[in-house]
Symmetry: C2
Amino acid sequence: MSTLYVVKIGGNIIDDEKKLSSFLKDFAAVKGHKILIHGGGKLATKLAEQMNIPQQMIDGRRITDAETLKVVTMVYAGYINKNIVAQLQANNCNAIGLSGADGNVILAHKRNHPTIDYGFAGDVDAINTTLLKSILDQQVSVVMAPITHDQKGQLLNTNADTIAQEVANALSSLYDVQLIYSFEKSGVLLDANDDSTVISSINPSYYQQLKSEQKIFAGMIPKLDNAFAALNKGVKKVIIGKAEQLTDLITGKAGTSIVHE
Amino acid sequence: MSTLYVVKIGGNIIDDEKKLSSFLKDFAAVKGHKILIHGGGKLATKLAEQMNIPQQMIDGRRITDAETLKVVTMVYAGYINKNIVAQLQANNCNAIGLSGADGNVILAHKRNHPTIDYGFAGDVDAINTTLLKSILDQQVSVVMAPITHDQKGQLLNTNADTIAQEVANALSSLYDVQLIYSFEKSGVLLDANDDSTVISSINPSYYQQLKSEQKIFAGMIPKLDNAFAALNKGVKKVIIGKAEQLTDLITGKAGTSIVHE
């Protein structure tokens, strides 16, 4: 099977024009099949302010009312997605920008939480791998916006990390998938305040050891649990590190690789 | 060759939620390959007002400065495009929404006018038929937003009528293309004020006769000239009529068909 890179970039890159442009140049240069999944950044919040739409957050999550859904659809699936695609084209990387509604690529349902009404937030049900494969096999990269749909006409705001993981899991039957999560730090650190203490590779037994020695920063544990879950679903490797180091993340010269035993 | 319907809908349908929903139900029911091209409607103007971006019009054309480009990218390629796709999915019509940057489907250049600076307005150079064909042949319909790109990273605001014509022309080597332009009237009328005087079919010699007898409303002449130009480039039939009558436009029971001799 050929290799597929599924790369998630966070809002800190989206919000910084220079960093984004440099990242896209690196992404364009990566050889082989690739999917880029982007979050939202601060643009949606800024547009909501300009439009006088109050933003409600519960536990750090945005509550997506009807007006906010309109804003995130415009910003994520419109402005950010199309500008990323145009920049990739300028770097000789043919790319196609999709929401989950396009080609029914990501089917989701409105979140049903017992106590909190998250509004039009979507939880993923299924990935349509056929269309994705046909696009990738034409040497066209895919750029995914974190908007899905329920096949009943409703668009839904969906967590980009979750989309990355679901897409990586689903495509691991067709490709050797490497899932790359970019964030602010250089990788998983032994000392949370020292970027030079990156652990280059973690397998399940080393993870157990690090956890029992309480050497893993608590905030990293859900990320790592998700990474190991992805490996169990067929993903070959999960890499966590800085978007600015994409090339080195792929060659293993930077970041933390989460691998099988 | 199989038939491909290229359907352009105007802003009057986009702006009317009920009319749009009813049109999309009809569009979903059309058998065979199909592409929907949508304009913008009043939503972009409204958003620009909310964002305090002054809109400059010259001869009925919007001047696309950088801030306005951001607005139309969000509204056309984001909000309108994704909502149309989600509604088609709800009607069991698998569809994919694209801008011209996606898959490099429509390459354009910034308009270079001797006296007027239209800003980021694009004139079409080329259509990438390979990717469009591969999507259509998977029984997936295409929904095109009137945003193109120049392959140098610049998105461009582009006239939707022009996109419809260019897409129809380019695909006429691969499909029997029927190009359907929807507008406010029921078709080409003998009496501009009487919707019951629709001319059902016009061929080149009848067009010459109607023009010499001054029976064609002056405003229709550019539309008809474009329709005959499309026929000369390989399009099989051009139909002009009301979006509300899509089904009857296709079967020839409504609207005006512009056909070869």
